[in-house]
Amino acid sequence: MDPMESIKATFFLECEELLGDLEAGLMALENGEGDDETVNAIFRAVHSVKGGAGAFGLDDLVRFAHVFETALDRMRSGQIAAAGDAVKLMLRAADVLADLVQTARDGGPGVEQQRSMAIAAELEALSEGRDPAPANADGELAIDTVPDDAGIDGLDFTPQTVSLDLPADLEAAAPAPVGWRIRFRPNTDLYAKANDAAFLLRELEGLGECQVTPDLSGLPAFDDLDPEVSHLAWEIELSGECSEAAIREVFEFAEGDCELEIAQLDHHAGSAALPPGPDPAGPEISLSDANAELMAELPGPVAAPVASDKPAKPQAQPASATAPAQATIRVELDRVDRLIDLVGELVINQAMLAQRASESDLGRSNGVSMALDDLEQLTREIQDSCMAIRAQPVKSVFQRMPRLLREIAAMTGKQVRLVTEGEGTEVDKTVIERLTEPLTHMVRNAVDHGLETPGERKGAGKPEEGTVRLSAVHRSGRIVIEVADDGRGINRERVRQKAVDRGLIDASAALSDEEVDNLIFHPGFSTADQVSDISGRGVGMDVVKRSIQALGGRISISSRPGEGSVFTLSLPLTLAVLDGMVVTCAGETLVAPLTAIVETLKPRPEDLEKFGPQGRLLKVRDTYVPLIDVGVRLGWRTSGTDPAQCVVLLVETESGGRAALLVDAIQGQRQVVIKSLEANYQRVDGVAAATILGDGRVALILDIDAVISSRRAPPPTGQASLAKAS
């Protein structure tokens, strides 16, 4: 890739982070949690976007970022309060900035000019401490003063260094084919800033031929010589076609730290218009000699580096400063995945080795068994560390939500506050990527369906502003994400009625509150009376549920009327390994995901009931659940075995339904590496994936839901009417 293209890609990546920081910071201010450093960080984020954008000539972005930055600078200096409407405006500005970045990156239709101009105008008004100018009929706003205005920062828009403090006519002046006489007397300050007269003289030499005459008249007697003080001066005669501007540019950094006189040499007389300086104390010498001699004989006023035992202590800025930046490297995902694959093989190999050792009695010998234990421990640690490489904080998903919330709030006229917790909780990158959509949908639903209008809330004695809480936490090897609102809760009456209307349940069905709540996950179920723009029709919670399940996750809801609802997602931390129960069935070894298993039990003959022509039910305590012979279900045997000789895995499907899976024996629990069947073959019904066991053979991982659903015994209610309805 072209290096600039690659840096541009970096820029857009960085923009994403900066925009995230920007929004997070503004949110903190909005919640009254920010401090000075928060404002500084916000300023820096916009500033960095602008800086990068300038480098790539992204003018629209630069222009807007500039106005934004100006307002933030006022906030930083305390002229604008970091709270209230100002912060709200800045949040909207952050959205525009994000859109402008996206446009710059992806091209396509630009951000609505009018919108960005309107916000820019409001920001300007804010900066200037006045009411925003109303947009005129054409949508044109008085912000065109900024880009072309060299007043504050206009030079930023020109991709080149321009020497300030120079009259324009000097810059434009044609090179004079004459010489210059330059008198240069550095102050001590020049050296204190690590400038060096010798370098400046060398630079001058680059402009033309130089005759340099050192002026030693300021040099005190040796005993009085202070090496920290500048005593020397030079007079230089420069011949060549260069402009005064070019000479001044050489001394640009020295300005204010030296006496500098520049005069044109009189071409004919060979003398300068400059009044004669002090008598040159030495013969004229060429620049390079001057350099050498000066460097050799006269110690520069800058002391040679002296080892110091008290290094300068950074005066770090106050408390809330961010944690020390961790060193990072960027690695292609392919390499990480290859590593994870290899570790998966190592895990299998280690298991095989352990099994062989125990079969051959080698395991009995102390040394071997201990070494094998260590190997297992080590392997597990390597595996965990590898998985951790792919792990990322959920922050990247959570960060998308504030904006979403603002937009929905604006569309619905509801007032919402978003609270996030546990943003730093990490989970596999793929899980994060595939979490965005369902989570977006859930947050959208929480506002659209969950929260009441401000009026309704007031009437119910609640604060007019509703709260949506988004949290993430690690719990027993999974990540649990909650989306909670303090809205009206599930209207069970209405849900029930809808379900009856749609033939999902029988009108007479007796359902628990929980069962009613779970009806919203049924395909095609939507509780909104009207099809709203926001939640739409058809994309219901069933879709959310399916995408969560596809990730090996579960979703559940709990709701209290009038108090709100909580949706809980439980997801695996990685898609590469799975905690499973290894079982035997019809001579084959199978793995059942541990998360689906409620309990295991030995069925008693008296708890078995025939149900229908082929069906069987198992009584577990007081409930009957369908009994499924896994061997039969997978087509490995035709007739069921004697359940009394078997073991039952009581499992729960994602929808909360239960079933008893009959297998021959349980071997134990272990973590297995998930291998896709689809890579070389295709999806197989009833099978989620495959894994490789310690003996090197492939075992299938059961797809519990599929195993149950395709041989579904009708639940107590509903199925008949479902058939009727369809």
Partner: protein
């Protein structure tokens, strides 16, 4: 031996741009992400020139320059300040802190290299 430039900037984009420009010109580049990081780098390396941003977390450019100038070992190292703020105030403050010169962002790679050469022994 090629000269070493320490770049101190919290923006990854800017760090990469500096690296690209300086690499091409034959400088060896070491990078730091903010003032504190920059001072840490200085414990390990003795750069010939330092280029620093002003707006940075933890320790900003002014503080960084002051710390460098306050350390006997580094007070002779030229420091160029990166700034988009061409207001004289910002520049003056950086100079007062001890900056040798400045580079206005967005910079042209040639100009950048010129500025570095102007303050260093890399002729």
């Amino acid at each position: 031996m090629s000269q070493t430039v320490l770049t101190v900037d919290d923006s990854r984009t800017m760090r990469e741009m500096l690296r690209a420009a300086l690499d091409t010109a034959g400088f060896r580049v070491i990078q730091a992400e903010d003032g504190v990081d920059g001072l840490d780098r200085l414990e390990e390396e003795m750069p010939d020139v330092i280029i620093t941003d002003i707006n940075m977390p933890r320790l900003d450019g002014f503080g960084f320059i002051e710390s460098v100038r306050g350390d006997e070992r580094y007070r002779g190292v030229p420091i160029l300040v990166l700034t988009t703020e061409s207001e004289p105030a910002k520049k003056m403050r950086a100079r007062d802190a001890g900056a040798t010169g400045w580079i206005v962002k967005p910079f042209d790679p040639e100009r950048l290299v010129d500025a570095v050469r102007r303050v260093s022994a890399a002729g």
